[in-house]
Amino acid sequence: MAAANAIEMRGITKGYPRVLANDRVDLDVRKGEIHAIVGENGAGKSTLMKILYGLTPPDAGEIRLEGTRLNKHRPSDAIRAGLGMVHQHFMLVDTLTVAENVVLGEEPRVAGIMIDAAAARERVEKLSSQYGFELDPDEYIENLSVGLEQRVEIVKVLYRGARILILDEPTGVLTPQEVSELFVILRALREAGCTIVFITHKLDEVIELADRVTVMRDGRVTGVVEAAETTKEDLARMMVGRDVLLRVEKAPATAGDTVLAVRGLAAVGRKGTKVLEDVDLEIRAGEVLGVAGVQGNGQTELVEVLTGLRKAHAGEVLLGGADVTGLTPRAIRDLGVAHIPEDRQARGLVLEFTVAENLVLGRHHREPFSRRGVLRLDAIREHASELIRENDLRPPDPDVAAGTLSGGNQQKVIVAREFDGEPTLLVASQPTRGVDIGAVEFVHQSLLEMRDRGAAVLLVSAELSEIMTLSDRIAVMYGGRIVATFESGEVDEETLGLAMTGAWTGGATARSDGDRRATPEVTAA
């Protein structure tokens, strides 16, 4: 008799040194359904899926796939059992081509030992055209956009004949248009008989797409509900264990003098390609300028030029009227520019340093933390204790290594550090990426507080809702240019999403810039 459940997990337990990631978790996914798993950061969703896929051995528990017991299995066993997974962090090898990535581990062969490159290419082309993916099998991954990378991941899964698909936070990096395209694909796959597990933080998507939802918190399952019978608020409560403010309260801006003015800014990338072109910007004291755009359209480079990390090729950056183009990062910082970098672990913190050491990073060379080249440890500690108290950092210990803090607390360390010392300009890049609802609340409120205290804020985010709620004005970047600017309130997510694809042509303040990225479906939409 055929099993009614595609996936059955029973009593899954997994402990890590400081945290119980999965605590006796049960999960049932019915055949042919789209099953969403939601939960805060660190709730244990990815861990559960990695256990299912055989990447991580559980400490205890039992797994059945379509009725067959999987015991101490490895990914190869899971793949053979019909499981496919699109990971939260894409599992693609940048230096290989699309076709190579797809066939890796299950290569078509000639003469028994050589890769049949032609066959590989053909298979990829076939799968790709079947779902309208438009993938070039010979393109290298490093040249693909995130959206295309995700399609490669899906092709990888389909190539292996998966009947059960796991997608871990697939929409985090996509534009609204790309998200709806993905949903079309997922529904088509469901029609074709596939079972889909879908992990997300976006409750709208759950309501829109899923059949059923499993909610996790602190490594445990806190609820399993039919999507049609629930609301976002209910889900949020199950996730966090309390009521959550889903919108930020914001007073209207009272803008003052121009703090930052950017004129005709251009920059070139590694291979001499233009990554920024003719960018004009202006931010006044007491206002938030949001910069929206799909990853890789020049936002990162813009922030780097503004903070002195990258050389400008042309144009100028004026801070309070003074030309700061080409100054070193330290000089720019010393002029009152604070920066929350987009990748907290890569650029924001020295994970092996203590919290106290991290809290002076960037100002360590100035009084009172340093005098005549010698560190003043008491001043550094005192400063740390103060910030820890003010920002409710946990654990409240200045001497623990920053790397041992949770993601949310790591971000709080950066925020506390950068907001301390009354910056005149705050450049915040993806300040809430990968941070859970509680920490998001904190960061958002802190940002607005800075604004209300008279700082100019440049907010770069891939999260449209974040841009919409926090910004007073919104600039959209595409292909290294600013293609449109809006007053907040006069624009909706659809329009923004369209502008982000470079396909939007309306509006007085907008400038269109071709349709390099636009797909026919999107322009038609």
């Binding site: 055929a2 099993a3 009614a4 459940n5 059955e8 337990t13 402990g15 890590y16 040194p17 400081r18 945290v19 119980l20 605590d23 006796r24 978790v25 049960d26 049932d28 019915r30 400490d59 059945r64 009725g67 059923r212 918190r217 602190d218 445990r220 399952v221 806190t222 609820g223 399993v224 509900v225 039919e226 903070t307 002195g308 990390l309 070193t328 990062p329 330290r330 910082r333 010393d334 920066h339 970098p341 890569a346 650029r347 924001g348 913190l349 020295v350 994970l351 092996e352 340093f353 050491e357 990073l361 960037g362 360590h364 060379h365 340093s370 080249g373 010698v374 560190l375 440890l377 001497d399």
Partner: protein, 377 residues
Amino acid sequence: MKRLARFTSVLSPVAAVAAAFLVGGLVVLAIGESPLRIYGILFRGAFGSVDGVGLVLFNACPLIFAGLAVAFAFRAGLFNIGGEGQLYIGSFLCAWAGLSVSSLTPWLAIPLLVVAAAAGGALWASIPGFLKARFGVHEVINTIMMNFIAIGLTSYLVVNVFKEAGQMTPQTPKILASAHLPRLAGAARALGIPLPDANPLNASILIALAAVGLAWFILYRTTLGYEIRAVGLNAAAAENAGINVRRTLVLAMLLSGAFAGLVATNEVMGFRHRFLDNFSGGIGFMGIAVALLGKNTPVGVLLAALLFGVLNTGALEVDVFTDVPRELILVLQAITIILVVVGNEVLTRRLEQRVRPAEATGADGNADAGAATGEAA
């Protein structure tokens, strides 16, 4: 947790050394010798007399400098394999200074030569440092290349330009007498320690101890040290924080080379009083092992250098008085390092217990799990 970590970092090298001696003992046994006798001779050589202890310190001295050089660069994320070349250039410059000045009081001569030694090492190290910072060329290759170049260069100078007249030995004449570092035998006797006059232990060991303190101070108490560590741990974050990464890399390399150059204080100023072609024979490379064993901390380097000093001193005793060759000691040193790194990983993992359900707090929340689960077939 912190105490546990400290415990681990002390315990693992100690356990590794013990295990290495065990393995070495088996090797000795395998060639039909008694491990007890061999180890007895080894430790008698190192600890059996004041002379032996003096030799241990004398042998440890250059390793302290060489180990500090590697450890210091390591803190900035640089792997300085070039200690050997740097110590040759430092020693040569030191000797050259000692030959160029005709008369000077010790109060000026000694500092002058010490500075020359450090400057020579720093100069040589700054080249790969600069190439790394400016062109991104990996320092490992360049430091290796520069070892060969330094050896060739000093060899040329000592054979063709600075050779002591009428001698076969490729060495310079003796340096200015007032620049010699005094041997410690006299001072030790004044303290009631019967260190023989012939014992080569000299004031360089005091410079080495000061260097350990200096390295510690720079790394943990100065702004520069903070920046060096930040760059070594996360260059991108350091850059983001306004630290000039390139400058920091060059400075770290410079200081690292200076430590290597200070080997000259023992070899040139304290012991030989001249530059001898090829005198080192691998001190720079042993410095790598010392730094690794000492976990790249100044105090760790000191301890590891002392351990190697014991082994080298004992090795000579074994070499002279038994049929077991000194290579056994090399084997022992290598096994120690391997066991230290392996042991460290194993112990750390052992000690980091995973959280189990029983220990988890507040075991509620599973109540509504399974509310909509279907029956397995």
